[in-house]
């Protein structure tokens, strides 16, 4: 394909993937504890607007990222209280969170479209990013991107190799048994839900501050839902979530470049492609009965109410 430089494409796909990756890794932990939070989109977009507003007003992207995390966490706490303490239906509550988040973010962002966020400096010196080929790919990113990969590694290690991870998996597998053994099911789930909210909020803030560098109503455009799909694609394994996010990012970055290159495919068809490909991948993953069934947390989406 002429006019598309593979190196800039790779750099772009990493940036494009990161918001979705952050949201997906958070949701992965939430689902591992047996909770399905469909409000990722709402938390992401609220994180995006709050992060953007704070970054623009303070001039500090770091404060922006923190504000994004805090707002995502605050929203997730509403979900947590409703589903864990008031025992509401997780599907309905997650949807409510998304609808509320979309409205709230539009409200908070009134007057901000077109503002310029502060520039985010890269952690590595510019000279390193100028090394041919590997320079831009390995050293040309903002700190959050490195953080996101570290986060994947941390979640992988904690889930697989620590007592805390074992408890998380146990709670998601059979909450009644975990309760019988004396584990605080609700507390563990609330913590996970808040972790998921912080991740989604950070993803949103990264989207508005770094990737788009602007605030637009509804700018997540389904990224939260794609994050949810990625968790299924990854069959609840952190590294596969990374792989999935980068694949998705690749498709998105590629179609954007094809649009720009004016290739002979209607723009709308190109714009549909990330969603269509996500659906296709979901179908492929879910048609494999045995594997997904073994990895999916058995208590996913079920209401826990300790009797006695």
């Amino acid at each position: 394909m002429m006019g598309i430089d593979p190196i800039t494409l790779i750099v772009a796909l990493i940036t494009v993937s990161t918001p979705v990756l952050l949201a997906a890794i958070g949701e992965l932990v939430v689902e591992k504890t047996g909770v399905l939070n469909l409000g990722v989109e709402g938390m992401m977009i609220t994180g995006a607007v709050m992060g953007f507003v704070v970054a623009v007003n303070t001039g500090s992207p770091t404060l922006g990222f923190l504000a994004g995390m805090a707002s995502g966490m605050a929203l997730s706490l509403i979900f947590g209280v409703l589903t864990q303490l008031l025992l509401s239906n997780q599907v309905a509550t997650g949807l409510a969170l998304t609808l509320f988040g979309l409205g709230l973010s539009a409200l908070l962002g009134v007057g901000y479209p077109g503002s310029t966020p502060p520039v985010v400096s890269d952690p590595f010196p510019a000279a390193m990013a100028e090394i041919p080929v590997i320079g831009p790919i390995l050293f040309g990113h903002s700190l959050v991107i490195y953080l996101s990969v570290l986060l994947v590694a941390a979640v992988w290690y904690v889930l697989g190799y620590t007592k805390m991870g074992l408890i998380i998996r146990a709670v998601g597998e059979n909450h009644d048994a975990a309760h019988a053994l004396g584990y605080k099911v609700i507390r563990i789930r609330l913590m996970a839900i808040m972790f998921g909210g912080a991740c989604a909020g950070l993803g949103g803030a990264f989207l508005s501050i770094v990737r788009v560098q602007n605030w637009v109503d509804g700018m997540t455009a389904g990224a939260g839902w794609i994050a949810l799909a990625l968790v299924v694609f990854a069959s609840w394994k952190p590294w596969r979530a990374l792989l999935g996010a980068y694949l998705f990012g690749g498709v998105t970055a590629l179609q954007l470049r094809l649009q720009a290159a004016g290739i002979d495919i209607p723009v709308e068809i190109l714009a549909m492609s990330p969603y269509v490909i996500t659906i296709v991948v979901l179908v492929i993953m879910s048609s494999d009965k045995s594997r997904t069934a073994l990895n999916a947390p058995a208590a996913l989406g079920k209401v826990f109410h300790a009797t006695g």
Binding site: V232, P266, E268, I269, Y275, T278, S286
Partner: protein
């Protein structure tokens, strides 16, 4: 200490009272939100809930709008509620609504400038089929490959939106529109128009369809075996299988019904109030209908009332925007809040709350 205690049976009184309680709580929380925006909360609430119906100068315009807005909400919510009752989560009604409108409009415009009286009925069928076909994608993927219908139906909304853009700027664009995006105005073409049936009421065929849907759903759920099977499958899937319910058939049926109803809503909208296929044709009825379905307790009569209430917040929201400069998204947040409060107080119908001192050990 607060403790929740499961009731032996859901409380009927609370089931009816919780939506009212949720509305009251939302008014309070919404009032706080409006106060934070620097507006007088009492005035704002009055403008949203009272003025559209009773204000001397606005009511004449906004009363008919109530039915115009409630019609599609009710029509879509009825279909969604049937699915939600069965545990089939179609949350992509927005996409089915778009596809129904495109299919119906395409059918009509294909015969332009024919004036045959069969065109509008044909458009209705095409609209329903368009929504139905779009909902069959998650249905087939769910039954064939066990793919999660929530994610597929939702992702298809974005696909439908791109398709809508393509229709408005491409194959349905008005050839006499001087290159502007958007189709011919169907409401100005006699054979494709969905007119106001009784002047000054806002009543059009879509609202008639909504009322028929309410009655049909009521009969279905209370008197018919299929309605019983829908409820059974939602409450106890294993028992439903034991009772001979084929889960795949039910998934196809529920998604199909909700898709067709959403498609119909889209068709009636495009041929009436909206008038044409345009890039911003969809305004979120498909999502708001989810709130309507829950607020109405997934019960047809409840949905009728909830649809009217939600329509009121739309109209009141526009009025508040006009009179108090309350930003439009505030209303969307307000509607989302309503669903939160409803879910929160819902606990009262299935659980009893006990205040108890820390147990003496």
């Amino acid at each position: 200490m607060l403790r929740l205690e499961k009731r032996p049976a859901p409380s009927r009184a609370w089931t009816a009272a919780t939506p009212v309680l949720a509305v009251v709580l939302t008014m309070i929380a919404g009032g706080i939100m409006f106060a934070l925006l620097g507006k007088n909360p009492f005035e704002a609430i009055r403008i949203i809930f009272w003025d559209p119906l009773f204000h001397e100068s606005f009511a004449a315009y906004s009363r008919p709008q109530l039915l115009v807005k409630a019609g599609p909400l009710i029509l879509i919510a009825i279909g969604l509620a049937l699915g939600f009752r069965a545990g089939v989560w179609n949350i992509g009604a927005e996409g089915q609504y778009i596809m129904g409108a495109i299919a119906g409009a395409s059918f009509g415009l294909a015969f332009y400038p024919s004036e045959s009286p069969l065109i509008f009925p044909g458009m209705i069928i095409a609209g329903a089929l368009g929504g139905w076909a779009w909902s069959m994608i998650p249905a087939i993927l769910k039954t064939r490959f066990r793919t999660n219908e929530i994610l597929v139906s939702l992702l298809l909304v974005y696909v439908a939106e791109k398709f809508l853009a393509s229709a408005a700027t491409g194959f349905l664009r008005n050839p006499e529109g001087h290159g502007f995006p958007g189709s011919r105005n169907l409401s100005r073409i006699e054979s494709m128009n969905n007119p106001e049936l009784i002047s000054g009421t806002g009543m059009h065929w879509g609202i008639v369809a909504a009322f028929i849907a309410v009655i049909t759903a009521y009969v279905l759920l209370n008197k018919h075996v299929l309605g019983y099977q829908i409820k059974l499958a939602g409450q106890a899937p294993r028992a439903a299988r034991f009772a001979g319910v084929n889960p795949n058939r039910l998934i196809v049926l529920c998604l199909g019904m909700s898709g067709a109803l959403a498609g119909l809503a889209g068709l009636f909208e495009v041929s009436g109030p909206a008038g044409q296929i345009s890039i911003d044709f969809n305004v979120g009825y498909g999502f708001t209908a989810i709130i309507v379905a829950f607020l109405g307790r997934l019960h047809p009569i409840g949905i009728l009332l909830a649809g009217l209430l939600m329509a009121l917040t739309y109209i009141g929201g526009e009025l508040a925007q006009l009179m108090l400069q309350i930003p439009a998204p505030a209303i969307q947040a307000f509607q989302g809040m309503l669903l939160f409060f409803l879910l929160a107080v819902d606990v009262l119908s299935t659980y009893r709350i006990r205040f108890k001192k820390e147990g003496v050990a």
